[in-house]
């Protein structure tokens, strides 16, 4: 029982990342009709926003310390971050410690801007082209973005820690009456899950309760009619692209402490997120979220040793297996609507 609860918890945070990326993908697909293979790269750029903020905050000047020597025997150059010399060592260290949460503020405008540039600069030229062209061009863009990041940040993962308060893990088992250590869960992953829930709730509320959201939803249902009503739907869709980019970026920022960001982390999530979108139903936002969490939890279960001993290698194929079964029984996905991608 405790093992099952443990894997459900584990699935939740993995599912959060899938859901956030899939949500952005579905937003773009639903509004602009473009299959955006560069979405994983946006997630990755988000994580590198956290790295960048950390780098900016730790910008340092060098002080030569005569009492210590470096590996060649020369006097050691000690790096002192500017932040620490401006605000005092304690406040400075605290600011650096909170680099990842601070990066959220930095990432939102950056990601929206990148989304705008991507849509206006490249993707809009491909609206009238077949889906295969769109996939090729966005996939190419993803590779370009990866290489740009690698050029500036290198190929190795860069440690980007969560604030000290969130280190360690929470003992859920004790709360539920199990033995200590039976069900433990890192604090930061709890934060990640709550953050994802907040963002998902925010996007749905935005689409459901604002006039802007209503127009966008109308546009998703019938673009031509909305256009004929004199509404500039294209501009709203561009804004939605920026929003989707920001969602992916924020997912990336908060993911940075979970796994040290590297340049190909986007690709690791991209394929799975596509499966999530297809399983959830192309163009269905609730479907994407539901499928994200569902597949995240299933993947966690499949990596249990008890399951793996019966079905070796199941942890690598479970998502695709479930995708096949769902598409065979419900060809439009869990919550897919009729008419999407069917003309």
């Amino acid at each position: 029982m405790d093992a099952i609860i443990l894997q459900i918890l584990n699935g939740l945070d993995k599912g959060s990342a899938y859901a956030l990326i899939a949500l952005g993908l579905t937003l773009i697909f639903g509004t602009l009709g473009v299959v955006n293979f560069a979405h994983g790269a946006l997630f990755m750029i988000g994580a590198f926003c956290a790295v960048t903020v950390q780098r900016i905050l730790t910008l340092s000047y060098e002080v030569v310390d005569e009492t210590q020597t470096d590996f060649l025997g020369n006097p050691l150059k000690v790096k002192v971050p500017y932040v620490e010399s401006w605000f005092g060592p304690e406040t400075g260290a605290a600011i650096i410690d909170w680099a990842v949460p601070l990066a959220i503020l930095f990432a939102i405008p950056i990601m929206i801007a990148i989304g705008f540039i991507m849509e206006r600069g490249l993707i809009k030229h491909f609206y009238k082209r077949p889906h295969a062209d769109q996939i090729l061009v966005t996939f190419g863009l993803a590779i370009v973005l990866q290489e740009v990041i690698k050029y500036f940040y290198g190929a190795n993962p860069i440690p980007t820690g969560a604030p000290d308060v969130f280190r360690g893990s929470f003992d859920f088992g004790v709360l539920l009456g199990f033995d200590p250590n039976a069900i433990i869960y890192p604090y930061w992953r709890l934060v990640y899950f709550s953050f994802a829930a907040l963002i998902i709730g925010g996007v749905f509320a935005f689409l459901q309760f604002t006039t802007f959201g209503m127009v966008v939803r109308a546009g998703m249902a019938d673009r031509e009619t909305v256009g004929l009503l004199g509404i500039n739907i294209d501009r709203r869709f561009t804004i939605m692209f920026g929003l989707a980019a920001a969602v992916a970026g924020l997912a990336g920022v908060m993911y940075a402490p979970i796994n040290s960001p590297n340049y190909h982390m986007g690709m690791d999530f991209l394929v799975l997120s596509f499966v999530v979108v297809v399983v959830g139903g192309m163009g269905s936002l609730p479907g994407a979220v539901l499928a994200g969490f569902l597949l995240g939890i299933l993947e966690s279960f499949a990596s249990m040793n008890e399951v793996k001993s019966i079905l070796p290698g199941i942890d690598q194929i479970i998502i695709y297996l479930v995708a096949i079964i769902i598409l065979l029984t419900r060809p439009r996905g869990l919550m897919g609507r009729k008419g999407v991608m069917e003309d």
């Binding site: 443990l6 190929a155 190795n156 992953r189 796994n259 040290s260 990596s303």
Partner: protein, 452 residues
């Protein structure tokens, strides 16, 4: 009388012809004759540096390339000469290899076997490289080694830790300087016993490919021999990025040690995840929970940041070693690039010098001659023991070894002794290997002498 066509003479004739036909391709390769397809012509010798320039190990590849450039500089008489002056052999005098200037070409392995083979092939055929070296993965090493064997050029392996590279998948033209999983296990076990005692329960998470399997096998065997119990061995997919679902059940399994048989990105992520779960602050069976990462790379460890503090692992070499060869290398590398070299850089630098030294001494840079040269150092050596020879022919990598938990400076001749006894036993690995630097990665600047 049966009218069969199978006469004794006929069978012999056909047999000889087909045997000749089968042997034909090998006759055309260099291994069977002294002159050889890529023999250096003109006034230069070209070496092929095949390192990951793109892909996840690109940073390690960049460090390998720095070391290669330094080695070429030293061979050609540039810089401060680095390790050359510390060699017992004085053959290398800065005049290149056999008086020919050393030049190099580079290839990108991408840490993919097919790409690595393609780039090695192009360097051999197009650029006339007479030796191929480098790489950051055992899979690539095995693939390129096979290609070099076919092409009749020497392969000086870069970073490869699998037992199989010079065991199951050995090739006559392949030489290794880097250590292997068996050696890691043998070096680590006594240190782990000293630190954590003999009554421990270990839980293995293992990258699901050749290197991971051999390391898991070696570590489990060595720790079980000293009384540890192996609770569980779980294979994790190589492509895995989030290890939380593999790590979460560890605490509840009754294990009090987690062994991470992971490398590169896998290692960074699994270690980060394990630390996030707070495993290292936990108490199990009345003991502190411990994590062991048998193979460490300083470059990779940077990715795990603070998480590596106080975790033990083994490494082929570390820049803080105080022997003359290491000091000279660290000094030239540090002066040129401004930071200390990695173990990958060290292996690649040493491999280049080893090749040059052997080629110069043998006066003919053909694989056959080289093999003879290296064999000459140990008349009974066979291919199985070859990986012990490389460190023998020079004192370049003489360093402090951990011998059953005691620090000694190892006489290089010991390798020869052991490889002979190994030959008698025909075990896949020589029993030399209690002797390796075991490190405690405090502050990512391990002090190997602090482990005890």
């Amino acid at each position: 009388m049966s009218k069969s066509n199978f006469t004794r003479r006929g069978v012999l004739k056909t047999g000889a012809m087909s045997a000749g036909g089968l042997a034909l391709p090998t006759i055309l390769t260099a291994a069977s004759h002294a002159g050889y397809t890529n023999a250096p012509t003109g006034s230069t010798v070209t070496l092929g540096f095949n390192v990951p320039q793109t892909g996840p190990y690109a940073d390690e590849g960049a460090d390998e390339l720095r070391a290669y450039e330094l080695a070429v500089e030293h061979l050609n008489g540039g810089g401060d000469g680095g390790m050359l002056s510390t060699f017992s052999s004085k053959e290398l005098d800065g005049s290149g290899i056999l008086g020919k200037k050393v030049e190099f070409v580079t290839g990108d392995t991408q840490t993919k076997s097919d790409a690595a083979r393609a780039s090695a092939k192009s360097m051999i055929e197009k650029d006339g490289a007479v030796m191929i070296t480098g790489g950051s993965s055992s899979g690539v090493a095995v693939a390129v080694q096979g290609l070099c064997q076919e092409a009749g050029v020497i392969f000086m392996a870069g970073l490869t830790h699998s037992n199989d590279t010079t065991g199951k998948d050995k090739k006559a033209n392949g030489f290794r300087h880097f250590f292997n999983a068996y050696m890691s296990a043998a070096a680590l076990a006594p240190v782990l016993q000293k630190l954590y005692g003999s009554d421990r329960k270990a839980y293995h998470l293992t990258a699901d490919y050749t290197w991971g399997w051999t390391q898991e096998e070696s570590i489990a065997a060595a720790t079980e021999a000293m009384g540890w119990e192996t609770v569980e061995k779980v294979k994790t997919p190589l492509a895995a990025t989030d290890f939380s679902s593999y790590i979460a059940p560890v605490l509840n399994s009754g294990a009090d040690v987690l062994v991470l048989n992971h490398y590169g990105g896998n290692m960074v992520n699994s270690l980060t995840n394990a630390v996030q779960f707070g495993l290292r602050e936990k108490q199990v069976n009345g003991k502190n929970f411990e994590i062991v990462v048998p193979l460490y790379s300083r470059l990779m460890a940077k990715g795990a940041g603070e998480n590596v503090k106080g975790i033990h692992g083994s490494t082929n070499w570390h820049w803080s070693l105080q022997d003359e060869g290491s000091k000279a290398f660290v000094k030239s590398f540090g002066t040129k690039y401004g930071f200390p070299p990695s173990q990958a850089a060290h292996t690649c630098y040493v491999q280049t010098l080893l090749y040059a030294d052997a080629a110069t001494r043998q006066a003919r840079s053909t694989p056959v001659a080289l093999r003879k040269h290296w064999k000459g150092l140990n008349s009974t050596v066979s291919a199985t023991a070859r990986h012990c020879i490389a460190p023998t022919i020079t004192s370049a990598s003489k360093m402090f070894w951990w011998c059953a938990g005691k620090k000694t400076q190892h006489p290089s001749s010991t390798f020869l002794k052991w490889s002979k006894s190994h030959l008698r036993h025909r075990s896949p690995m020589p029993p030399i290997t209690r002797c390796l630097p075991v490190v405690n990665w405090d502050h990512v600047t391990p002090a190997h002498n602090r482990a005890a």
